[in-house]
């Protein structure tokens, strides 16, 4: 537990974490100081004036809570008539030139102006003069569409491009009530994190071209998830909805704060990987090249495995820890050569020094901990003799191998997404993807994270673990895998897999060392 200090809020003593500004300090004990421009990742700017509070110690009568560090013994007043009136007044100023087009605004339902109007204002409009008009539906590039009239000039987006991406595409031009956020002519948003400005925008001024007008925010179920777009494992919200007579569909990913992994943001490429969960999914099982029902396909593959002379299992570096362990167990049981060869998942030089990683797989770190061989030589040597290759989600074509030209080796594919490798398979078992399944992954920094199933499809696909059990694997469920990992894999001897903290568990250096040694 970090150091704490005691201060008084509205005459009640509270103990809060030390070293924070007043907004964050008292938020930690559940007290809200309303604020629009302040964001913990972007620092205090002090422009919205919504967080003005009184401090009863003889300093100037009003201070901006975002700019004021919480200090021992401070007496903060939030509930005085004076402060309540200021909050009403600021809301009035924010709203007089706001179009109040909530019925057609994507932000409606998750808008700070709506929420604060109900909480802190609730007064009828006194605006009897014409409103200021500004630019609408301006294409800022990077998939961002801007509405200057809805904007409250909090400058979060501007500060994001200056402080976080350091690309500085956005600025506020003009003065007074003509001030507006804009790009330089012909210089659109051009960074790989641009869509974060949509999440940062407290109102509907920044909208995503991809998402706008597709769903009302209040219909979306906002489930926690982890992005599988690269080996960073950024925490996300999976926003999905099952419309009447339709299936459960994911409409967007949004960043979810995790100080241990991604902070407050995600990259645009990762954000767009939600589409892979909806489109080009494997649905139809195959057995010996024929479409059959799932049960027949599983049984046919099981028979084919038992007939095989030389068997190779190929595992994807994006499989979950539990899936990998279960595949490993089945491989041992069936005397199959197990390979994790997946060179093609690594795009050298694509990563940056922020969130984006070269390695586009989600869980390669687990290969090392489980001792799964990744070398090309092992795989090619095994394939020379093999008569059956079962790929568990691994698209070998990414690594430059032609799946239709494996010679005498027959190909089976157990996975979620259509790809060249799945196309070439004569046995095909579609399984639930990560958004429909639970599991654990270890990111490039050695942080073990757990995720749960977010989406339940109308016709749910079986999990890969269920398929592995049906193919003759030993594990009935994840509990069984965890027990096995705890007892049989040295790296997990001391890891309490039942209780992985919400922010993930940083595996210690010694655990990683133990394996490589």
């Amino acid at each position: 537990m970090a150091d704490t200090i005691k201060l008084s809020v509205n005459g009640v003593e509270v103990e809060v974490p030390a070293g924070k500004n007043l907004i964050d300090a008292v938020a930690a004990v559940g007290i809200e100081i309303p604020h629009i421009c302040y964001h913990p990742a972007l620092g205090a700017d002090g422009n919205c004036r919504m967080c003005l509070v009184e401090i009863e110690d003889g300093r100037p009568p009003l201070v901006a809570a975002c700019k004021t560090k919480a200090a021992e013994g401070m007496k903060v007043r939030l509930d005085s008539e004076k402060i309540k009136k200021i909050q009403r007044d600021i809301m009035e100023f924010e709203l007089i030139n706001h179009p109040i087009d909530c019925p057609i605004c994507d932000q409606a339902g998750e808008c700070i102006l709506q929420d604060y109007y109900v909480k802190y204002d609730h007064a009828p409009s006194r605006m009897r003069v014409p409103q200021v008009t500004k630019g609408k539906k301006m294409d800022f590039g990077g998939g961002v569409v801007h509405d200057q009239e809805r904007c409250v000039l909090c400058a979060r987006c501007v500060r994001f491009t200056r402080l976080i991406t350091k690309t500085g595409e956005l600025g506020i031009v003009n003065r007074t009530d003509q001030a507006r956020v804009n790009i330089f002519p012909g210089r659109p948003l051009n960074n790989r994190y641009a869509l974060n400005v949509v999440d940062l925008c407290p109102v509907g001024a920044m909208t995503s071209k991809d998402f706008r007008f597709r769903q009302r925010a209040w219909f979306l179920t906002k489930s926690k998830g982890i992005c599988h777009g690269c080996s960073k494992g950024c925490n996300i919200y999976i926003d999905h909805n099952r419309e009447k007579y339709k299936d459960d569909i994911i409409y967007r990913y949004r960043p979810r704060h995790n100080a241990l992994v991604n902070g407050y943001f995600i990259c645009d490429a990762g954000r767009m990987t939600y589409k892979l969960e909806n489109e080009k999914r494997l649905r139809m099982p195959l057995a010996a090249g024929q479409q059959v029902d799932l049960e027949s396909a599983v049984n046919a593959l099981k028979r084919r495995i038992d007939q095989a002379d030389k068997l190779v299992f190929l595992v994807s570096p994006s499989c979950s820890l539990e899936q990998m362990r279960a595949i490993q167990q089945l491989a041992t049981h069936k005397a199959a050569v197990l390979s994790g060869y997946s060179e093609g998942y690594i795009q050298k030089g694509d990563g940056d020094d922020y969130l984006i990683q070269d390695d586009k797989s989600a869980n390669r770190a687990a290969f090392a901990l489980l001792g799964i061989d990744e070398s090309k030589d092992t795989l090619t040597a095994a394939l020379n003799e093999a008569d059956l290759l079962i790929s568990f989600g691994n698209d070998l074509s990414l690594s430059g191998m032609v799946c239709t030209a494996l010679g005498k080796t027959e190909l089976a594919f157990v996975g979620s997404y259509a790809n060249n490798c799945a196309d070439a398979a004569s046995y095909l078992l579609p399984v639930a993807s990560y958004s429909e399944d639970s599991g654990s992954i270890i990111n490039i920094d050695g942080v073990l994270q757990r995720y749960g199933a977010a989406v339940v499809k109308n016709e749910p696909l079986p999990s890969m673990l269920q398929i592995l059990a049906q193919l003759g694997g030993a594990f009935g469920d994840v509990q069984a895998v965890w027990s096995d990992l705890n007892s049989a894999v040295e790296a997990f001897n001391k890891v309490d897999l039942q209780n992985i903290p919400a922010e993930g568990l940083a595996l210690t250096v010694s655990e990683v060392d133990n394996v490589t040694a």
């Binding site: 004036r49 600021i90 100023f93 007089i96 003069v129 003009n174 003065r175 001030a179």
Partner: protein, 423 residues
């Protein structure tokens, strides 16, 4: 009533040229200066009672003592020559007629605060003034008064003229610093104050042109000589710009403490055309207006102005006679502050435009009686809720017009106002 302290060389032809200025005493204090300890200089300035001539009237010497001690960062001096307050036209005389007095003052100040780099932030509209100032600086460099060894002494002073781009807000000292740094001129939240964290994150003293230009006299003649002018709490002389509906508008140097109405009558020739005095804006457009009655007992010093619930301000006195339409004057004034709001913080950005539109509606005969009270409430709702005091400059003065001349607003609302031109 007029005195010639700051304006001693104003009427000498070509006094902006170094040769002429030197002949009449320019840079004459430097030998004395470098024989003093920097702390002594500060003490003399403190003792003189010199108050900041930009409008706020903060004691200049005291401001210098706010610099943190024992810091290994450079100290900067920023000379505020943004002179943008409506009705204020005093610093331009110094820039044009006696720039060497300003440069000498800069050397004095830099020595006192141990700064080697001074910036003169001059408003963008002062084009010829900037040229004359730069020419004087160039001459001072050539003659060795600026540069690595000021007048042969082991003390460096470099002066940079930074031209603004036409923004009233850049006269606010932290917006001025932002502008020098090449950013959009927007005030910073305080604290930290510039004396602790100013230009480029370093301790910075910001003084008005007239404050700095007052230093050579104070150092040469001593604090007591300066205090011989003015009142106890408002010592010294001030360049007053008297404008509006008087017979002899102009810039006059006067000791502080003179009766306001007497100055209007005797110095500026009184209200023109024998009209009746209606009111006086005492120190630039930001200062609350005085009615003719109130003006009778006011003297031109900080304490009398405060006692009359207005401010001394920048010495820009505007005389209003009975032809002035106060409602249109108020609209004109609000339009200025509206136009000059940097747009950074919510109450000022949104509120001033709203007030301006309400005033426009009142003038167009579309106002309602409750609009006058709404304006008064908006003044309260905006004032002191903002990052800087630009909006307060607007609301304090607007409130004074609304309260002191309410019947004129009511007449518009009742649609009976006579059509009178705004001055």
């Amino acid at each position: 009533m007029e005195v010639k302290i700051l304006s001693a060389r104003f009427d000498i032809a070509d006094a902006n040229k170094l040769e002429v200025a030197k002949e009449h005493g320019a840079y004459g204090t430097l030998e004395k200066l470098f024989a003093m300890e920097p702390a002594e200089v500060t003490e003399v300035v403190k003792a003189s009672g010199l108050r900041g001539r930009g409008g706020a009237g903060f004691p200049t010497g005291l401001k210098w003592t706010f610099l943190p001690k024992g810091l290994d960062k450079p100290v900067y001096l920023a000379v505020n020559s943004d002179e943008s307050e409506p009705a204020t036209f005093k610093d331009r005389y110094i820039l044009v007629r006696d720039p060497h007095m300003l440069i000498e003052g800069i050397i004095i100040c830099c020595y006192a605060i141990n700064s080697h780099d001074a910036y003169i932030y001059i408003r963008g509209e002062y084009i010829s003034q900037a040229k004359i100032l730069q020419a004087a600086i160039d001459e001072a460099y050539a003659a060795g008064y600026l540069g690595d060894k000021v007048a042969g002494h082991d003390f460096r002073v470099d002066v940079t003229v930074h031209r603004g781009a036409g923004a009233y807000i850049c006269g606010e000292e932290t917006a001025l610093l932002e502008s020098i740094e090449g950013k959009k001129g927007q005030p910073r939240s305080k604290p930290p104050f510039p004396a602790v964290e100013g230009l480029y994150g370093c301790p910075t003293i910001i003084n008005n042109v007239q404050s700095i230009a007052s230093l050579p006299f104070i150092i040469e003649k001593g604090a007591d000589a300066y205090k011989a002018y003015g009142t106890e709490k408002s010592p010294g002389t001030h360049l007053f710009g008297i404008s509006g509906l008087v017979k002899k508008p102009g810039m006059y140097e006067l000791p502080l403490g003179l009766p306001l109405v007497e100055v209007i009558d005797k110095v500026a020739g009184g209200v023109r055309d024998g009209r009746k005095l209606k009111g006086i804006i005492p120190g630039g457009s930001s200062t609350p207006v005085l009615t003719a009655d109130e003006a009778q007992s006011v003297t031109l010093d900080y304490e009398s102005m405060a006692a009359h619930k207005t401010m001394f301000g920048s010495g820009g006195i505007v005389v209003l006679d009975d032809t002035v339409d106060i409602v249109k004057l108020a609209e004109n004034l609000v339009h200025f502050y509206y136009h000059e709001s940097c747009g950074q913080c919510t109450p000022c950005r949104e509120g001033l435009g709203w007030m301006l539109k309400i005033l426009g509606a009142i003038i167009a005969g579309k106002g309602k009686a409750k609009d006058i009270d709404l304006l008064l409430e908006l003044c309260d709702n905006i004032e002191m809720k903002t990052v800087c005091v630009l909006s307060a400059a607007c609301t304090m003065s607007l409130r004074s017009y609304l309260n002191k001349f309410r019947s004129e607003f009511e007449a518009y609302v009742a649609n009976t106002a006579s059509a009178q031109p705004v001055m």
